[in-house]
């Protein structure tokens, strides 16, 4: 049982808007802890379109999505935010003193006076491939990620996909599994050429199988796979297997947020436009996840929302303390927090 981590503000989601929240909250001396399902900050910008140029960030005629994330990380660095990656927030409960307890899917516990939901389009989760009946095997013999390689030892493994995840795991699990069959729709891959070459070399040496085709069906019982039907260019092939790892990319899902007792409006969280607070006092929602009349799903809109949210959050974290409006250009105390003169 790990210790409870206490912080001022718990931010769900480390995309661009969650990151900028650290800045505005930091100017008011609030410490932040961010939780994200990805293994790094940046949300959709880092995961979906890091190289794509964005043209509508104020002050930047052109900036790449990853470039924006890097700049935001630089901007919030003085406030030393803490990050917990590879985790989804599973539950959120209000405690007797009005603060919140947040639990992750690995049972880590956080307590904070304020929770800011910056979940964007939802958390990135593996996309379920279009294979009929696959749900019956999920979690028992079909997996979408590898937590421990040892769990595949001695199994006849089928890996489906054409990207880096599929190729990397094919190469990593080949020494561990009893047999590995990589299945891809075509002999061309999206993965790094070096990995693809290694895979073909191992196929030449008969150390693994590569089957061109698409998985059209699964056979098994009680969630345990016994074989997969691969529809290939020359007809159907039956591949005996006891484990399958399909890598079909990531999709965004609202997930546990739907269960936290917040008012929802078509999978978005309605907020007021003075504080961007949800239907539960102390819980705020910023960025693409929120909704209000006139809402635009733009990063710049999220930035604006952060500034107003921070004022309201301060009143909760430091009740009674006088909030003085200051400009970063002229306030020596703000500049000191930013380390301007160091």
């Amino acid at each position: 049982m790990t210790d409870t981590i206490k912080t001022d503000v718990l931010i769900v989601g480390a995309g661009p808007v969650g990151l900028f929240a650290v800045f505005e909250l930091g100017l008011f001396d609030m410490k932040c802890h961010l939780i994200d399902i990805l293994d790094r900050p940046g949300g959709q910008c880092a995961e979906l379109y890091p190289e794509k140029p964005i043209y509508d960030i104020p002050g930047w005629p052109l900036i790449t999505a990853q470039g924006l994330v890097d700049k935001l990380l630089e901007q919030i660095h003085p406030f030393k935010p803490e990050f917990t990656f590879n985790r989804m927030v599973s539950s959120l409960e209000k405690l007797e003193d009005g603060s919140f307890r947040v639990t992750t899917d690995e049972n880590e516990v956080f307590e904070a006076k304020v929770v800011v939901i910056a979940a964007g389009g939802g958390s990135f989760q593996p996309k379920r491939p279009p294979i009929p009946g696959i749900e019956a095997y999920e979690g028992k013999s079909v997996f979408y990620s590898v937590r421990r390689m040892e769990e595949f030892r001695g199994h006849d493994l089928v890996i489906v996909g054409g990207g880096d995840s599929a190729l990397d795991w094919t190469l990593n699990l080949q020494p561990v599994a009893k047999s590995v069959t990589l299945v891809h729709r075509r002999p061309e891959f999206r993965a790094a050429p070096d990995s693809v070459n290694k895979m073909f070399a191992m196929q030449e040496m008969k150390e693994l199988n590569f089957q061109v085709g698409q998985v059209s069906g699964l056979t098994g019982a009680d969630g345990q796979l016994s074989s997969a039907t691969i529809k290939g260019p020359d007809g159907d092939v039956e591949v005996p297997c006891t484990r399958m790892l399909p890598f079909f990319g990531l999709t965004m899902k609202l997930g546990p947020i739907a269960e936290w007792g917040l008012n929802l409006h078509e999978n978005l969280i309605p907020v007021d436009t003075e504080k961007f607070q949800t239907s539960v006092p102390g819980i705020f929602a910023i960025g693409d996840i929120n909704w209000y009349p006139g809402k635009l799903k733009l990063i710049l809109s999220g930035f604006h929302e952060v500034a107003l949210m921070a004022q309201a959050a301060k009143r909760i974290v430091s009740p009674g303390e006088r909030i003085v409006f200051q400009y970063t250009t002229s306030s020596t105390s703000l500049q000191k927090k930013l380390g301007v003169h160091d």
Binding site: K127, P129, P130, G162, H184, R185, R190, Q214, K231, F248
Partner: protein, 106 residues
């Protein structure tokens, strides 16, 4: 106007008039053809506007480019005549084009 025909998975036929320059997907959505989802709105980022091009039209419609091929990896029951309809631009030479909608999208 260029005529397009969509054959839904249950066999229902939709004959629509399409403007040159628009995409086959846009015309499916505009005419409420069932079974074409186009989740990403035409950005070649989702594979849910997948169609089968009628055998007689595959030569004229042409093959997918690399980006579309990458996305077709995520589609259901991809065949040699599969295309993502958001990547097929309507033009005079496609007058009378027939496409079939797959049983499911993803």
């Amino acid at each position: 106007m260029t005529k397009l025909t969509f054959i839904a998975n249950d066999g229902t036929q939709f004959d629509v008039d399409a403007e040159n320059g628009s995409t086959v997907m846009e015309n499916a959505i505009r005419n409420a053809v069932p079974g074409i989802e186009a989740e990403c709105g035409g950005a070649c980022a989702c594979a849910t506007c997948h169609v089968y091009v009628d055998e007689g039209w595959t030569a004229e419609v042409g093959e997918p480019e690399a980006m579309e091929e990458d996305m077709l990896d995520f589609a259901y029951d991809v065949q040699p005549n599969s295309r993502l309809s958001c990547q097929i631009k309507v033009r005079d030479a496609l007058d009378g084009l027939v496409v079939r909608v797959p049983a499911r999208q993803g």
